[in-house]
Subunit: 336 residues, 2 copies
């Protein structure tokens, strides 16, 4: 019998339909090997991007070689940095100017490397770049949210193969984040506890652990109870913090770097280097340290062709129960 | 300057980012030509599917040749028809049994035909099959919603190429439908008018029409003000009706058949036969004729690789303004 399961935060019901995994289905192929064609993100091509807004460098000056991590404005931005919001109506409709920031975090100078393969110390530098840009963009009072996300592989929406993360600062709160904020506030009003703290407690309780993928001193990686996608994996801090950019201490960043690398490597080995997306879920700009919200990372391997149906109805059918995905990922050997 | 636009029903903000259409991007290829391999939906293979629950036949008996439109339970159902809901908790989580119906409307005996190419009279028979199955499933008191959707082409999630539509009856209301119901109810409480009626009125006003694709006596096809996808197209009845299955009179079904065929043909000619999805949005089971809701069809060509980012954040970036898509589709010549 399939299950219908409700996400405890946003209230989204998902069909967990094991029978469907029997049907003839097509999985997305792994991303093609990277080609050595011209790439604007490679060292020596710094003049092909807008001027850098952040870099971690061993040597060299701005917009030259010698960087380890580099952040530049997107050459084809979805939103424009200059201008005012200028909200207005058009009959019954509402609109405003597309003011915002759109930046690219170039994670490594090595065209062929991918995030999962970088040393943990380098992954930590990428995570610090996210934080520094987030802190900087939070100063702009026009913005309400800074969204950090990664598209890995063409099937997951990446248009350039050189490993990178994107950052979009927007004058509105993205829909699913708003739903999480609303849902977790309602839970807090009822229980006076953070729903994500409760999830971490329940999932890591001694007699449980069926959905846990990996744990460290400060983080837990798990398959959520009502996942939309096969092998959807969340990384949550054990300690309650509403905002990603609060992660300031070096040990915590290193722990997170190890955990992110651990999860991506498990997914790579388990699923033959799948295309994937991840999104950092954090509190809105200037909302401070909310007691009801809890930042986390949601990682979604792209294994099946998501139909417009799911997008059109908001209804997800997932053939892989999280209780099957978790032990599979736990059992992956990462050495060697 | 890009636009940020808000959908007037569900309140979803979308970035309309014309600049992005300049960037190097990959469009999904058109579906491959259909191959004559074994197909369980073809005439003569009626024993390869579960027993039919509806058919339009020129001759023959149930589960034999002679049908024009045939509806069968899905052989790999996402939900199971037998059983009770049996709601229960698991710590802080909620779940219930995956009870529901999952059926397939086989639109034509011709393996190579697609919906857009069938004669309008045949499309009308497909639309009648939708209605008859909807009416029948609405009698089952366990169900709250009957969702009708089509995946056309592998990139849009179709796993069998023989042209078909799917129907899923669920004990819950799919998320986006619930949001539409909530949003349109709020609008009604404020204005005492249906928001969809207001959209039709504003879009077809004499000094407007910029987003209109096609009109008929009873229907309007238009590009919505805040579309998530390039060339997203909605078909709305001019007359206020909450429920699809209320469409009973023959002339109205024929008008809708012509309109659906008209829009699909325009999309085929404009976009080189794209993969697409459509979803019928209608009122929930047993909610009757809601004064605030208005049934319609949302058609989404799958032109770009939708990133998990959009799904993960609920934030859509659309490079094609509806004011550009509409005149392009209006200008398509359908004759010849």
């Amino acid at each position: 019998m399939p299950d219908l399961r409700k996400d405890p935060v946003v209230g989204r019901w998902v069909i967990i339909s094991t029978e469907r995994s029997l049907r003839p289905t097509s999985f997305e192929p792994a991303p093609a090997p990277k080609s050595p064609n011209f790439c604007p993100f490679c060292p020596g091509h710094e003049d092909q991007t807008p001027h850098e807004v952040y870099a971690r460098r061993a040597d060299g000056s701005a917009d030259s070689r010698g960087w380890e991590v580099r952040v530049v404005p997107n050459k084809f931005p979805a939103l424009q940095i200059e201008g005012s919001l200028d909200r207005k109506g058009e009959g019954l409709y509402d609109k405003m100017n597309g003011v915002g920031a759109h930046e690219v975090v170039i994670e490594t100078p090595d065209h062929r490397a991918e995030l999962a393969d970088l040393p943990a110390e380098h992954v930590a530098q990428v995570l610090i770049a996210y934080r520094e840009r987030m802190v900087d963009l939070h100063r702009d009072r026009r913005f309400r949210y800074v969204l950090i996300f990664k598209n890995h592989g063409a099937q997951a929406g990446a248009t350039l193969e050189h490993s990178h993360t994107q950052l979009i600062a927007t004058p509105i709160i993205p829909r699913i984040l708003q739903e999480e904020l609303d849902g977790s506030r309602r839970y807090y009003e009822l229980k006076e506890r953070c729903v994500f703290c409760d999830i971490v407690a329940q999932e890591t309780a001694e007699n449980n652990g069926r959905r846990v993928v990996s744990t460290s001193e400060r983080f837990v990686a798990l398959e959520p109870f009502a996942p939309r996608f096969p092998f959807e994996t969340w990384i949550l801090p054990r300690r309650h913090d509403a905002a990603y950019q609060i992660v300031e201490d070096e040990a915590e960043i290193m722990d997170l770097a190890h955990m992110l690398k651990d999860v991506l490597m498990r997914l790579n080995r388990a699923l033959d280097r799948p295309p994937y997306n991840f999104v950092i879920h954090t509190s809105p700009v200037s909302d401070g340290d909310l007691e009801y919200y809890h930042w986390h990372i949601e990682i979604m391997p792209k294994l099946t062709r998501v139909a417009g149906f799911e997008i059109g109805s908001g209804f997800y059918i997932n053939p892989t129960p999280p209780e099957d995905a978790a032990p599979f990922l736990r059992g992956i050997t990462l050495e060697g």
